[in-house]
Symmetry: C2
Subunit: 373 residues, 2 copies
Amino acid sequence: MDSTFDHEAPRGQPIARGAALPLLDFTRYAENARAKVEAALEQWLRAKAAETASLTPGARAPIEAAFDLARRGGKRLRAVLVACTYDGFGGEGGGDAVVLAGVAMELLQVYLLIHDDWMDGDELRRGGLSVPAMMRARFSSRELADASAILAGDYAAGLALDALLSVPCAPGRIAKAAQEFARVEKDVVAGQLLDVHASHDAPRSHPPQHAEVESMHALKTASYTVRAPVLIGARLAGASDQACAALEAFAEPLGVAFQLRDDVLGTYGDPKATGKPAWSDLRQGKRTALLAEAVREPGARDLLRAVGDPAAPVAELEALADYLVRSGVRARVEARIDVLLGKARAALETPLVPEAARLVLEGSILALGRRER
Amino acid sequence: MDSTFDHEAPRGQPIARGAALPLLDFTRYAENARAKVEAALEQWLRAKAAETASLTPGARAPIEAAFDLARRGGKRLRAVLVACTYDGFGGEGGGDAVVLAGVAMELLQVYLLIHDDWMDGDELRRGGLSVPAMMRARFSSRELADASAILAGDYAAGLALDALLSVPCAPGRIAKAAQEFARVEKDVVAGQLLDVHASHDAPRSHPPQHAEVESMHALKTASYTVRAPVLIGARLAGASDQACAALEAFAEPLGVAFQLRDDVLGTYGDPKATGKPAWSDLRQGKRTALLAEAVREPGARDLLRAVGDPAAPVAELEALADYLVRSGVRARVEARIDVLLGKARAALETPLVPEAARLVLEGSILALGRRER
């Protein structure tokens, strides 16, 4: 993988709308790395299919559904972050050498998405049926379909660890990377527990608080979207504990900003670009940053009745979304994203992070925090 | 931990009922190791509780339920196998040094039991409520209770890996041990998939076949009850690939025999000793070796109607159980257990397995294959 980001770029600019950060470099790196990840993932899945070839067709179907979801991945951002951090920290052989760690991140996400979709009752994922919905389409018994979906996720978790441990790298580095893997496995589940338990309270009786939404986002999203990928990439390159601490200070605000952006796109994004059904966040009453801000807006009170109502008329949801723009709610969430992106960028300003890593990770800030899909 | 098994013992005996193998030594070793595992597990759980202290009480409850189930463990056989194999292979510091790998095996089992109990609808486990039943008692919403149970299992899986990676050992050995962990995570899920999909067919329309039942037992039980513990113990002690292959040839038949013994105890064991409700295997129509043998017995046809009927009268189940004894079905399963135990023992007869390891593992053969609970 070429180190396309390894040249001069503007420094020290504040993260303001439209700022010219080296996004192009990250974008170019990401395109290249993404193709490598896709190829390695395909090769890995083909090789691993042999391990379950002797199962009965019914028993194999859930695993094949997990593979199908893995193949339907989008930007492979997490895998790209592993590669570019490893590369930026001078890892031997560049990002290609640790492409299986990227595959591991993709499979970890497959596990998490399957269990989440089962819990949330989400039918659609990545432009197709979710794994739980695939299982219900295949097996007439609901119990069998549910068990199959959970086990598909469980299998993907084992396969993710398998991929990480197959990276050709010094065992001391593998062991450190695996510790990050165990940590993220725990954190993301803790975040999901916070989410499902909080969501169970109706939004108006227990309106979400900013801090609560952001702690949940840190555990549930930032942990596996940014922290684990960059720390695993850094650990595989032999980065020091101090450098990893700096990366952690970069990863958490960026990961939270990524999810806040998701919260905005969940209401204002183009469903064709995001792959999510229109209005699904509001209809499901998801505890988003937008909602945490909206419940503090007295004028929104009546409009908020539509939130959490799966059958809410589109006109009511549109009225709420419009009001949140006019009253500045959306802008306040966007402003918070900018603050978090600034924090992420500031955390990279240390000699502990090599110049090459700093440049490419700065590029990732806009790609993750300002994305439109 | 003292190497209490490190002395002369009879060799080359067939595994016949009542044979005098060095069980006493394994029993003594196991008692000692079990106490160490209990202490280390308690210390680990207390330390790890801090990681989730900031969660809301509802979000923390599922994790606490998993901890509770971990504390209610019985013989800690899997943890004992890690310690005695490490010790037998001359691992530095003896079994104590790798007690956290035993803790990892206990937590892996907690994860598997939670997901299994949810799928099977089992209310009782280890003399108390199963984790899914605890969640239903605590949360009135069935959806929230189910999500909580699944996440409790997911969390335990992450915690198990965390414990394994915390063993103070050379990273090369840790990485090899972790590969066994990833392998067992996949195999046991594949076995559970075989089980839930086969169980979904009524036993009479698709009667279980011996080979099918034993492949399922190999994946679902032998993998995490014997293979992973002994290979992880051996890998942590620096055992060679060849020695590990010999241990694998020992572990699979012993693990399958362990489960066949479970199949017998599920119908003929004392519920007080086994901790399982009386007749639960037959009432649930579990695909046991006993059933695979029974469906080949023409005289059992009418009696088998009670199998898989949750409301079957005790008198009918008793009549079936009696018939299976009189017709020799039970004896044929016991004979198969003896064949498997003989295979396990023969696999240890190689210079690749050090004498100390051979002696203690021979002792484990009777403890696992002839247990009454």
